[in-house]
Structure formats: structure tokens, C-alpha cells
């Protein structure tokens, strides 16, 4: 059913149709509306689930783990510091092979404290053993949750659905929400691979020493390899059941004849596509590669999509997080994908552009300028979009001038006020 609906609400309705038995969450902006809506549904009796208001994110993930171990489909949501606070349990869910589904409403990580959107939170957990899916629109966010339960439970591996905080969670747009019977036909009841049963006792989470830890880890690696095959199959099934494309490993936009391709994740792809259409109008051959599945990283699919002819000259990776001392998280995976395996554009020049940190808008104007410069060969290997060098220089000057230069965040905010 087509609705004009807030992203958080659409996700809550999609999750409810997946019939979770346990929902546990601790509120944190910008995730709160999702679990608020689910809580209201449980209270009204519209959703038959246990809703637990836990005392922290660590408890939220621990309850989800406990629920899954008891054979119940479990869901939680968090963001930013909340994801960091639950991190130990995040790793445990994956290590135990428990198919928890969690929404991460992507938000920056402090300090400085910042409630706005970027991908630092989810990227910090990229090696936790979870599958990570990134939504471009609220339609996709809703659809990915339905697919996430199916993928998680088939593999017995947790799935994180990442949706941009505020940009998606708080945006009202058109979403086609499925009917309950369609979701029931797509998502079978949860049959756990392991379950705590007093009549048939097992221990979940036994200590494993050097004699077999590597093998347990290998099995996690193997599940990720299987995920690379399962995710496109689930995408195809979803398309057949619901009549629209959503999910999968990656998506392409106007790449056929492109000599410059932007690689990005999440909602910024919408603005990127608008910028591409404008630049195409000016005769630039530019396209986009959207990565929907970031973990496992679809290296072969990326190589296949980019092709191995000489046409593709440049790749620009738009990073929504920064890996200090290294550069860009996505760039590293992309470079590794291009350097290994079969095919792929081995000679393409790869540039990293750090964009939209802590909620700074990524505008079409800035994208157009950056891509025009990339096409001319003038884009550095590593740069920040719309960096205010004046502010940076001001603080660097203070640091050089005096030992006790003071707190950077406050200094910079004072400089901003002084400018106005």
C-alpha cells in the first residue's frame, strides 16, 4: 500500500510485519522514532511481541542474543555512541551465529558530540561479523528489513540495516508498504539452528581455545561467502514477491559508457544521481556505483560491474566516514577488490573524497564541482568535500602560537561566531 510516511515509521511497520517476538531497545537520536512506533504497536496489541525497555544498548544487544538463543526472532535499533556501547555484544551475536536484525540509524561518533548523520558508527563495526546493508531511500530501508530477517535466519548470521539518520529516518516520503500476507509468504517462521531447551540441554557460547578458535572464525568467514550468493537470490525472490527491485549487492546508475564512476553508499546516492544527470547534460560521461551490501564486500560483483576495458579512467569514492591515519574505509576495500581476482579496471585512478561528516549537507553544487575537477584530472587522491580551510588554519595557528591553545571544538565555534 502506497503511503506518504516518515522513514522511521515505514521501517517500524515493515519490521512489525516480520513478526519479531522480542524487541529490545534503548532510545538514541535519530533511531528513537522506530522503536517508539514499535512500542506503541505492541502496547495497542497490534503486534504480538515482548517489548523490553532496557537500561543500555549493551543490554539491548544482550537481550536480543538471549531471545535468539531461546528461539525467538529478535530486533533492535541503535545509532552512534549506542552502537559503540553495545559493541562487545555486537561481536558476540555474530560469533555465536545468532540472526539478530538491527537498524543502525547512521550518526556521527563523538567527540565532538554531534547528533547528525554520517557512517562512522556502522563503519566502526564493519569487522564484527555482521552483514551490513545500506539503504538509499526509505522504500529500500523498509524492503531491506524484510530481506534482512530472511538473510539472517537462512545463514544464522546477524544483519545490520544501515539507514542515514535524519536524512532517511526523519524524512517523509512515498513508501509502498507490503501486505502482511505477502511478507508471510516471503519470510518463513524462524527455525533456529541452535536453541536453549531444558529438555535437550546445550551450551551456547562455550569457550573455545587455540585448538579450534580459528575454525569457528573460518565458519563465520564461510557464512559471509555464502551471503554473497544468498543476497542476490533473496533480492530476486523479493522482486518476484513484491514487484520491485530492492536490495542486492550493488546497483549501477548510467555506468554503461562512463569514464568516471562515483562509488557511494546510502542516501547520498540520490543527490549523486541528480548531479550525474546534470553533468551528463554537459557531456560528461559519469555514472555511479552504489554499494548496498558493504559486508560482505562484493568484490567480484564490483569488478564485474566496472568491467575490464580501458574506458573507465577514474573512480571517486565518496566516503561518509573518515579512517584517521588511513583515509577512507570504502576506498581500502575497493582498492583491494580491484587489485585481486579476475577482471575489473586495474588501471583506473581511484580518489577518495570524505564528504558529509557530522551532517554537513552533500550538495549537488559541490558534487558537480568535485566531479568536474575529477574529470579534468585535478582531484587529489585524497580530499575533503567543502572543507573550510580557514577554520582549520585558525586553529593550527593557535596550536603553533601557544602550548595551552585550549579545546579545539570551542575555539573553532568561537571563530565561526566571530565571522558572522
Amino acid at each position: 500500500m502506497l503511503k506518504q510516511i516518515e522513514g522511521s515509521r515505514a521501517v517500524a511497520e515493515a519490521v512489525a510485519m516480520c513478526r519479531p517476538r522480542v524487541i529490545c531497545a534503548y532510545p538514541i537520536t535519530p533511531q528513537t522514532h522506530i522503536v517508539e512506533a514499535l512500542g506503541a504497536m505492541v502496547k495497542k496489541g497490534e503486534l504480538n511481541a515482548e517489548f523490553l525497555n532496557v537500561e543500555s544498548e549493551f543490554a539491548a544487544m544482550s537481550v536480543a542474543i538471549g531471545a535468539e538463543a531461546a528461539g525467538a526472532r529478535a530486533y533492535t535499533a541503535t545509532a552512534s555512541q549506542g552502537l559503540l556501547y553495545m559493541s562487545e555484544a555486537v561481536y558476540n551475536a555474530a560469533g555465536l551465529g545468532l540472526p539478530v536484525v538491527m537498524t543502525v540509524a547512521n550518526r556521527a561518533i563523538g567527540a565532538p558530540i554531534n547528533i547528525w548523520n554520517d557512517h562512522s558508527d556502522a563503519m566502526s563495526q564493519r569487522d564484527a561479523g555482521w552483514i551490513q546493508l545500506y539503504a538509499e531511500t526509505n522504500q529500500e530501508a523498509a524492503d531491506l528489513h524484510i530481506q534482512a530477517f530472511r538473510i539472517a535466519e537462512e545463514l544464522s548470521n546477524p544483519v545490520m540495516v544501515c539507514m542515514d539518520g535524519f536524512l532517511l529516518t526523519h524524512a517523509s516520503e512515498r513508501v509502498d508498504l507490503p501486505e502482511q500476507d505477502q511478507v508471510d509468504a516471503f519470510l518463513p517462521p524462524y527455525v533456529p539452528r541452535q536453541v536453549l531447551d531444558p529438555d535437550d540441554p546445550v551450551s551456547i557460547g562455550a569457550m573455545v581455545g587455540p585448538e579450534a578458535f580459528t575454525e569457528v572464525r573460518y565458519l563465520g568467514y564461510e557464512r559471509m561467502r555464502q551471503a554473497l550468493e544468498l543476497i542476490p537470490a533473496v533480492e530476486a525472490d523479493f522482486g518476484a514477491q513484491f514487484g520491485r527491485g530492492s536490495g542486492g549487492l550493488l546497483k549501477l546508475y548510467r555506468t554503461d559508457d562512463a569514464d568516471l564512476i562515483v562509488v557511494a553508499l546510502g542516501s547520498v546516492l540520490g543527490t549523486v544521481k541528480d548531479a550525474i544527470d546534470e553533468l551528463r547534460g554537459d557531456g560528461m560521461r559519469v555514472g555511479a556505483l552504489g554499494i548496498t551490501t558493504f559486508r560482505p564486500f562484493p568484490a567480484q560483483a564490483v569488478r564485474d560491474a566496472l568491467g575490464d576495458d580501458d574506458r573507465l579512467r577514474r573512480l571517486v569514492v565518496l566516503e561518509r566516514s573518515l579512517a584517521p591515519g588511513s583515509g577512507g574505509v570504502v576506498t581500502a576495500d575497493l582498492r583491494a577488490a580491484l587489485a585481486t581476482g579476475d577482471g575489473g579496471p586495474r588501471d583506473a585512478i581511484v580518489s577518495t573524497v570524505i564528504a558529509g561528516l557530522g551532517g554537513r549537507p552533500v550538495t549537488r553544487d559541490s558534487l558537480r564541482r568535485m566531479l568536474t575537477s575529477a574529470a579534468r584530472g585535478a582531484l587529489p587522491a585524497f580530499s575533503f568535500l567543502d572543507l573550510d580551510m580557514g577554520l582549520v588554519e585558525g586553529e593550527l595557528t593557535r596550536i603553533r602560537a601557544a602550548r595551552r591553545s585550549g579545546p579545539t571544538a570551542e575555539n573553532i565555534l568561537r571563530d565561526l561566531v566571530g565571522r558572522a
Binding site: Q4, W116, D164, H170, S172, R174, V268, G359
Partner: protein, 194 residues
């Protein structure tokens, strides 16, 4: 694409107003996107929200920087720096005030602006009369519908009735209708005068 920027204060319902407008456009089979200015909103602090309306899917996620219309829900924000920033030439401006454009000190701005594009509507008074609470969102949208004809009054009233229930729905709908009539009359007077 038609782009609207709402200015108000925390607690005045600018986010709800943007969502109602999106919902009205959706009812007319158009695509709409409404979103807040993503601040840590506090009661009384200046806040913004945005709405885009188009005949095709809206992909961009950037804030509205070149609005076709401004809805200013609190006239004390009028002289805030940058409030009309980016407004398209001959863009619409609707200000919530019981006073006229001249009384608000907008003479200079009005003189440079096309007739019938800058108007005031007593949205808070209308809300107090019909709803009993000083929430100007719905009447501002009623006035906006009359001023810009971007959405029909019917679609707007349907969106209001869907969003609220009982007396709140009826009060908001009545306030929106009254504001629509007020601005329609105002436009006739301006056009006649011109």
C-alpha cells in the same frame, strides 16, 4: 519541482506542517519529500523544515537552498539574518501575522517583489479561534494553498483529517479553511488594487 522552506520556533509544529503539505501533495498523486532541519530542537529556538513537491520521484537529499516559497510561522524571525536567503525571484512569502506587510517593516522587500507574492495571514489568531491553541501550522498551509495553488484545499483538509482525530482534526481543518478564505480575499483585494 516546487520547494518550500518553513521557518518557525521549536514547538510551533513546523515539522508537522511540512509533513502535512507533503501528505496533501501525495493525495494529488504527486511525489513529495518533507524533512526537518535536523537540529537538536528546543522549545522556542528558531527551527526550519522543508518540503519538496514534484511530478517525478525526488532523489536529492540536500536542504532546500533555493525555495519557491517561504512560510514564516513566527514574525519575530523576519529580521533574522538570512531568512529570505536563496528565495527564488518572485518566490512566495507567507508570514503569520495579524498585521499587514507595511506594519511589519517589509515595505522595502515588498516594493522589490511581485504583487500578490508577499502576504500575511493571522494564522495564530485563526488557530486560537478554531482550535483553541496557538498552533499556526494548519492555517499557514491553508493560506499557502490559496497563495500558491500548489496543493488544493481539499487535499490539505484530507491530510489534516488523516493526521489528527476528533476536535483537533476539526479545529485544524476549520482554521486552514478560514486562512484559505482570508488569503483568497486578500489576493483579490491586492489584484483589484493593482
Amino acid at each position: 519541482m516546487f520547494q518550500v522552506r518553513f521557518h518557525g520556533r521549536g514547538g510551533q509544529g513546523v515539522v508537522t506542517a511540512a509533513e502535512l503539505l507533503a501528505s496533501a501533495a501525495f493525495r494529488e498523486d504527486r511525489y513529495a519529500q518533507a524533512f526537518p532541519s535536523f537540529g537538536s530542537e528546543r522549545m522556542g529556538a528558531p527551527v526550519m523544515s522543508f518540503c519538496r513537491i514534484d511530478g517525478k520521484p525526488i532523489r536529492t537529499r540536500e536542504p532546500v537552498s533555493e525555495p519557491d516559497a517561504l512560510l514564516i510561522q513566527d514574525p519575530t524571525l523576519l529580521h533574522q539574518a538570512g531568512i529570505v536567503e536563496g528565495l527564488r525571484p518572485d518566490g512566495y512569502v507567507l508570514v503569520n501575522s495579524a498585521r499587514g506587510v507595511k506594519d511589519l517593516g517589509l515595505d522595502d522587500f515588498a516594493a522589490q517583489h511581485r504583487t500578490g507574492r508577499l502576504l500575511t495571514v493571522p494564522a495564530t489568531n485563526l488557530a486560537l479561534t478554531h482550535l483553541g491553541r496557538p498552533l499556526p501550522g494548519a492555517p499557514m498551509l491553508g493560506g499557502f494553498a490559496a497563495l500558491t495553488q500548489t496543493v488544493s484545499l481539499d487535499a490539505l483538509l484530507a491530510a489534516i483529517t488523516e493526521r489528527f482525530t476528533g476536535k483537533v482534526a476539526a479545529g485544524n481543518a476549520a482554521a486552514a479553511q478560514a486562512a484559505f478564505d482570508f488569503v483568497t480575499d486578500e489576493l483579490e483585494a491586492v489584484t483589484h488594487h493593482a
